[in-house]
Structures are given as structure tokens and as C-alpha cells.
């Protein structure tokens, strides 16, 4: 089932949290929803799940508008909220049964689904524990299990891996990938690797506006044009000399005899540098093309000052 967001605007008091954003997610797609803190990710998700009303614009899940048929939408959507709210004094299986009951499951069907979810989310050994005694990683699994209990067609996950340790992050990511078969999944994060690990389409949001909505591969290509080359020489060299090399657009001093060079129009200038050093008989200690990372794309798109600036 598809998810369509049309000119969604949310104003809190005088602050505009979302400024007429629109995007759509096709049936079966996994989309990463990326943005710095306070960009409007959670607000978008809360409106999509019917928790918050929008100021204007609407969200359509399948054939239903959230504002018109909230109950229908809530039946289709599985939601893991940002801080993973759970009833801490309930047992794991009790919580899942309770949530399943809210979705109208009962009897053997409910029992079957609870068992299935416990197994899928790796909670077999924890099912008889109280949620308050569980670690964050296991709580997150319970959160996922309750979001999945009614086999939702659309899954909305708000920062599913925040606050977890690296091992747990890998496990939860794996789990999300496993469960996302045949489902439309939107998950938010501010961790870039996450997107690379899980999905192929990214929507980047900043200050309530969508700044990018594309395939991951395409996004990485945008950045390619300003990819730098890091060079380190053994002896000192004048910046001017480097600047006079063919195709070199920009030279930045990084450290002692260490420079960052940017070629014109994305041309690979490594051969030029190598030629230069061999002609001048200066040993080249390092020549490295910067890895194109989603981090740099992200910084570029959201205009946060880059750390080496």
C-alpha cells in the first residue's frame, strides 16, 4: 500500500515545523527519512499515523486520508514512535497480546501472531520478563513486535536504532530488512550509514522542507563533483605550485605538507599530481581520493558547517 504526503504543513504557534512538503512512497518501497534533529521528521510521522493533526495538507495511506478515516489508516499502519513508548509494568507477551487486542485480534489468531512476533523479533527468552527489566535493544524489539503484530501494510519507524549500541544497531537493522518484505516502510534516522545499510531511496528534510528525494546512488553522484583529493608530500611545497597544475580548481592546506585538492568539474586529477611529483622528484607520501560519503552529502544538503571548514 502506498503512502502519499500532499503539501503537508504543520505550524506550532509561530514556528513552522513543516512547510508544505510532498512526497510519495510506493507499495513495497523502503525509504529512509533523513534530517538533522528538529527538521520535522517526527512531526511528519506523527501526522501520518494520526497522532497529530496537520495545519494544512494531508496524508493518504492506500485509499484513506488520515484526516477523514483515521481509524482505517491506523489499522493499516504499524508505528514505532520515537522514544518507543511501552507499558513498562507489563510482561512482553502480555504487552503484545494487549496491543494485538487493540487491533481486534483475538483467540487463537492473537495467540498465533504473538508467538510469531516473539520469534521473529528474537524475544523468545525475554517473553516472560517485564518490559522494565529489558535493555534498550530488547525494548526496541518489543516496540517493533507491537508495531508488526497486526501485519501492517505500511510500517513507520521513528529512529528505530537511536540510543542502541553498535551490535544492537546491526541487529535491529537486520530485523528491519527482514520484516520489510512486502511492506511499505518509512524510517527516520539521522545516522547516514543506516540508510546505506537498509534502503535505496532517501528523502532528506531540513527545517521543514524537503531538500532531496532521490535514489541513494544519484545522491552520491551530486557530491562527486566536489570530491577532493588528499595529497601528502615529503618535503614542503608552495601552494601556488599546486594551484598552477592543470585542472586544479582549489587547494586547501590541511597540515604540514598536506593538501586537499579539488579538480575542475569532477575530473580525476590524481595522474597530474603523480606526474608533478615525479618530475619534481618529491616523494609522495599519500594520495587519496576522498570517499564519497552520505555524511558529506547530508552536510551539503542541510548546510551544516563541515567539520574541516
Amino acid at each position: 500500500m502506498s503512502l502519499e504526503i500532499n503539501h503537508l504543513t504543520k505550524v506550532y504557534g509561530k514556528q513552522i515545523a513543516l512547510n508544505a512538503i510532498s512526497f510519495s512512497v510506493q507499495d513495497g518501497e523502503i525509504v529512509g527519512f533523513l534530517g538533522p534533529n528538529g527538521a520535522g521528521k517526527s512531526t511528519t510521522m506523527k501526522i501520518s499515523t494520526g497522532f497529530l493533526p496537520s495545519t494544512s495538507g494531508d496524508v493518504k495511506v492506500g485509499d484513506f486520508l488520515v484526516s477523514e478515516r483515521p481509524l482505517q489508516v491506523k489499522r493499516i499502519v504499524g508505528y514505532l514512535a520515537e522514544h518507543n513508548p511501552l507499558y513498562l509494568d507489563m510482561y512482553v507477551h502480555e504487552h503484545l497480546r494487549f496491543v494485538g487486542g487493540l487491533y481486534g485480534l483475538s483467540g487463537s489468531r492473537l495467540k498465533h501472531r504473538v508467538g510469531e512476533m516473539i520469534e521473529l523479533c528474537g524475544l523468545t527468552h525475554e517473553q516472560n520478563k517485564k518490559i522494565e527489566t529489558l535493555s534498550k535493544g530488547y525494548r526496541q524489539r518489543v516496540g517493533l513486535a507491537q508495531a508488526l503484530i497486526h501485519d501492517p501494510k505500511v510500517l513507520i519507524l521513528d529512529e528505530p536504532t537511536s540510543g542502541l549500541d553498535p551490535n544492537q544497531i546491526v541487529e535491529i537493522r537486520k530485523l528491519i530488512k527482514e520484516i520489510s518484505v512486502n511492506k511499505t516502510v518509512v524510517f527516520s534516522t539521522h545516522i547516514m550509514q543506516e540508510v546505506q545499510a537498509i534502503c535505496d531511496r532517501v528523502i532528506v528534510i531540513n527545517k521543514g522542507e524537503i531538500v532531496a528525494d532521490d535514489k541513494l546512488v544519484n545522491l552520491l553522484q551530486i557530491e562527486n563533483k566536489s570530491t577532493g583529493i588528499e595529497v601528502e608530500f615529503e618535503t614542503s611545497i608552495e601552494m601556488e605550485e599546486l594551484r598552477s597544475l592543470p585542472f586544479v580548481k582549489e587547494v586547501v592546506l590541511l597540515g604540514r605538507n598536506k593538501f586537499r585538492l579539488i579538480g575542475e568539474g569532477g575530473i580525476d586529477i590524481r595522474p597530474e599530481i603523480f606526474k608533478f611529483s615525479s618530475e619534481r622528484k618529491i616523494s609522495l607520501l599519500g594520495l587519496k581520493k576522498e570517499e564519497v560519503s552520505l555524511e558529506s552529502v547530508f552536510r551539503e544538503l542541510t548546510h551544516a558547517p563541515s567539520p574541516d571548514a
Binding site: T49, K74, R75, L88, Y103
Partner: protein, 222 residues
């Protein structure tokens, strides 16, 4: 917990404390239960209801609940029934007192049964009103202590505060109207075994009104 405290408290008042004990009093009636019961409930019902919305708001589980396919009314009524049911269960064991008094009466069975039935209905209705007040108080704050204090205060004002206010001379002939707004006026008349539809209407409408307020408040959870 709440049940145990209520039963211990009311049991002590009813059978042990000499000022209020039935055994000392010498008449086979349950007035102690029905006159002291509401005061005990003023403190106990808010303790039951204080967490209903306040805790969910604080823990963020309201988001869990409101993203499930439930209407706002489903949630409010659910919370109310949970609290109300607990109050009813708390009151059930006091039926034993009735049996004891029937046996202790001289001659045996010399008890004002219609009065007792009316009083029980009154007490249950009162429990309903207190529950709805408590749930409303819980919906307007995310602090359980505040919810408790507000609820106890409102319960008290509604129960006997209005009654006491109405006797102030400045109200003059308006006094009766204010008195009728209070719970005590209606509670006393049902306690006499007098089932008046006006009293029932009063109890049900106060409960309903409080739940409507709660629903309005809860719908604005953003």
C-alpha cells in the same frame, strides 16, 4: 492495594473505633459505612484515577494508544470503566457487613433493607461521579500528584463543599439550587431508599459531563 486500604479503613470505622462502631452504637444499621464511605472514597478514587492519563502523558504511551485503531471515546470510556470497576469491586466485600448486621439484629433480620439497597446504589453512583472527576483531573496534567490533589479537591467540593456553601446567608433563596448541585443532597435522598429519577439523572449527567470534558481535553493531546 486500594481495595485493602478501603476495606481496612472502613472496617475499622465500622466495627472497631468506638465512636463510630456499630457494636457500640447499638442500632442495627449501616450508617457508618454509608456516611463515612464517601469520605474514604474522596481519597481513594483519586488514587485509582490519578495515573490514567497523567502517567501515559509522562511516559509517552499516549502516543502508543492514540496511534491504535481506537476512537477518543473508546479510550476515555475504557479508562473510566477500569477505574469504576475497581471501585465496585472494592465495595462488594462490604456486603458481608450487611449479612453480619442482619444476623446481629434483634430480632434477627431487623434491618432497613430498602435503605441499604438505596444506599448501595447511591454509593456506586457516587463512585462513578468520583471516577469521572478523577479521570478528568488526570487528563489536564501530566503530574500524578497534581492529578490526585485536583481530583480529591473537586470530589470534596462536589460532595460536601457545595452543600456547605449553600448555607452561607448571602445566597439566600439561591441556597437550595447550590445545594442541589452538590452530590450530598442527592446521595442522602437515595440513602433513604428513595429512588428518585432526578437523583439518578443527576449522577449520570455529572459523570457524563465530566467524561465529555475529558474527551475534549484528551483530543487535544498535541
Amino acid at each position: 492495594m486500594v481495595i485493602a486500604v478501603f476495606l481496612t479503613g472502613i472496617g475499622l470505622l465500622m466495627w472497631v473505633f468506638p465512636e463510630t462502631s456499630v457494636l457500640e452504637y447499638g442500632f442495627a444499621d449501616m450508617d457508618t459505612l454509608f456516611s463515612m464511605g464517601p469520605y474514604v472514597l474522596i481519597f481513594l478514587v483519586p488514587a485509582i484515577t490519578m495515573k490514567s492519563f497523567a502517567e501515559e502523558k509522562k511516559l509517552g504511551t499516549l502516543e502508543l494508544l492514540f496511534t491504535k485503531p481506537l476512537s477518543d471515546w473508546d479510550i476515555v470510556i475504557g479508562k473510566f470503566l477500569a477505574a469504576f470497576l475497581l471501585v465496585v469491586i472494592t465495595l462488594l466485600p462490604t456486603l458481608v457487613y450487611y449479612l453480619s448486621i442482619v444476623k446481629l439484629g434483634n430480632p434477627v433480620g431487623n434491618v432497613d433493607t430498602p435503605g441499604v439497597v438505596g444506599s448501595y446504589i447511591g454509593l456506586v453512583m457516587l463512585g462513578g461521579v468520583f471516577c469521572s472527576i478523577g479521570i478528568f483531573a488526570s487528563s489536564i496534567t501530566s503530574n500524578q500528584i497534581v492529578a490526585f490533589i485536583l481530583a480529591a479537591f473537586f470530589c470534596f467540593i462536589f460532595y460536601s463543599g457545595l452543600e456547605s456553601l449553600s448555607s452561607l446567608p448571602i445566597f439566600g433563596s439561591q441556597g437550595l439550587l447550590i445545594k442541589q448541585l452538590g452530590i450530598l443532597y442527592h446521595y442522602e435522598s437515595t440513602s433513604k431508599g428513595l429512588m428518585d429519577s432526578r437523583d439518578l439523572t443527576y449522577f449520570l449527567s455529572v459523570t457524563g459531563l465530566m467524561l465529555v470534558f475529558t474527551k475534549i481535553k484528551v483530543s487535544q493531546h498535541y
